[in-house]
Symmetry: C2
Subunit: 389 residues, 2 copies
Amino acid sequence: MYSSKCSYVHYVYAPDRHLGFFMAAKADLTYMQRALALAEKGRGKTSPNPMVGAVIVRAGKIVGEGYHRMAGSDHAEIAAIKKARGKTKGATLYVTLEPCCHVGRTGPCTEAIIGSGIKRVVLPLKDPNPVVNGKGIRHLRKAGIEVTIGVMKKEAALLNDAYLGYYYLNRPYVILKTAQTLDGRIAARGGDSRWITDKESRKLAHELRAEVDAVVIGSGTVAADDPSLTVRHVNGSDPYRIILTGSAKIPPGSAVITNNQDMKTILVSSKRRLSRISRAGKSKNLILWEVKTERTGLIDLKDFLEKAAAFGLRTLLVEGGARLATSFLKANLVDKFVAITAPKVLGEGIEAVGDLEIKKVSQAIEFDNPKFVRSGRDMVFVGYPRRKK
Amino acid sequence: MYSSKCSYVHYVYAPDRHLGFFMAAKADLTYMQRALALAEKGRGKTSPNPMVGAVIVRAGKIVGEGYHRMAGSDHAEIAAIKKARGKTKGATLYVTLEPCCHVGRTGPCTEAIIGSGIKRVVLPLKDPNPVVNGKGIRHLRKAGIEVTIGVMKKEAALLNDAYLGYYYLNRPYVILKTAQTLDGRIAARGGDSRWITDKESRKLAHELRAEVDAVVIGSGTVAADDPSLTVRHVNGSDPYRIILTGSAKIPPGSAVITNNQDMKTILVSSKRRLSRISRAGKSKNLILWEVKTERTGLIDLKDFLEKAAAFGLRTLLVEGGARLATSFLKANLVDKFVAITAPKVLGEGIEAVGDLEIKKVSQAIEFDNPKFVRSGRDMVFVGYPRRKK
């Protein structure tokens, strides 16, 4: 499905190791850091565009800055140029991703940059989107603008991990999320899981939903928890709700079925299984995806991801349960892992991750760029599974 | 063994909740913070004394400071007074624990404070050691010194958690440590556990050993890992090595048996079991402790802790394996939990904590004052199990 020959595949997993070494000037780092902080402000609102921030500096002073607020609004470069009110002549532009050179919903940024009299552009990395992919840089250089590439590339790659991952992997970017105890339990023995994590973390989980195109869960989780999978507690639009089910059996009163006014519930199963429910499914406005199954009866996840890509989904959030998490990890199809860990111990219970057929610690799945962030009483781990060569 | 009526029992678990509210002046906070930072420098070297730091301030300037470097050396107050070289008249002393009023290996601090002309003493909390326990404060007040109690009491209580816990609980303070993966595994399925955590964390584990009087493990761990339980990679003296064993069967070539030149290996089992090995044990200079066993054949942990207290041990580090960890947690005998978590996932394997007979998330063991500290690529969790009322 995606070529392992592509040198970019490892990019968003370990940007620091695969991008080579780049030594940036101190001033460049300072302004790029500011541009990255601005970009971050667009989180959850820019899809399908990346988050981008821009800072314009002339004679050691910031004369304009901006960021991409949401899809359809000004690109960061344009916002910054507007803010600079003509003070751009001879200035340096710091922008967190290669400027576009195509006419999208807004005009091409390279034209605006050239027109503004900016004489130098500093950026961390190329935009792998095939409509840009180096063309923006070439356009600027042709116009005589000095372009410095590589400043804070790691930070910039991590900022837009899902956006970049989508283009590099040529399939939807898969984020696995667990809400667990210190001892790796996602529920007590009987299945009780409300609430392991604290309020602030549950809000964070909703923020994550707002950032992705679809939330993916197994039918077991639908039966056990009856989640609505909508975005609450924060602003943001609801993602698609994808239920992977070997059996195509879902309690008809489930929230994902009954609250489907937005027609965003997608049922994924084998042709044979889906045929049983297709009439009932249609009457509920469910979207049905037929996928291949493995010999074990489990859904072929690669085939599922191809269907999701064809449907236009770029980022998926796998929320549970344990069986689905295990399947994605085992298939080497998790691109980012977010483990929200509560300061609690449950002892025996439902484990976050099941059998991965690992026999030695040296075979464990390791995570690159591990980050631990406090969330209320909890700790949030974010990491990128290291691909085995 | 310890009275639950004692209002101090909850002290080191949730100092902020059980000590009431205290509003400190800003300057007092600043200097106490400095004193706490100084106290911390003695970590691992002051046992059986607490870590203590002291700062002397006159006319808004620090004129002297010090800390307790190791048992037998100057107390922090004395060190600070010496450093102040006579500039103590009318000054304020910030000290992180109630000054002593008894003649230990050094003279009583209260006499020195009174003699120095200090007119105000600021401290976070009483020293619960029965030879002090408020007498120091009374002594100072009788001499006309103003004493402010309560400044940064939470931080001070956490700093000396084990020292305070020993006196409040009237038994050795029990620290449980795990080295685990994100999904709560301490070893792969076959038992392989080298190395889950990274170098820096393993150094930290040795620092922990240097801070306690004894390390406690189960005989299963001796058989599986053959640990030497000595302090390496850092300075510090080796703790006692306690092996709890229902069967009193330990491979005779184990490091804890063969490297017993310091005669610090203690074997704990039932009378019946120990009788089998007493001759062999004596020839190896092993210390043998007979303890009661439960109906299940497992060691009675309360009886074990009484033996340890009678032996003079104040702090125990329970290092594994999973069964021992589970037993201590289940018996409500863990006072502090340190979970070193590596950014790895193993899937099915040996779980950090086994069956605690918990059926609902609301019954989970919660940890107060949860702290997450980065250690190399790993994350170290530190928390205090909340006692159920």
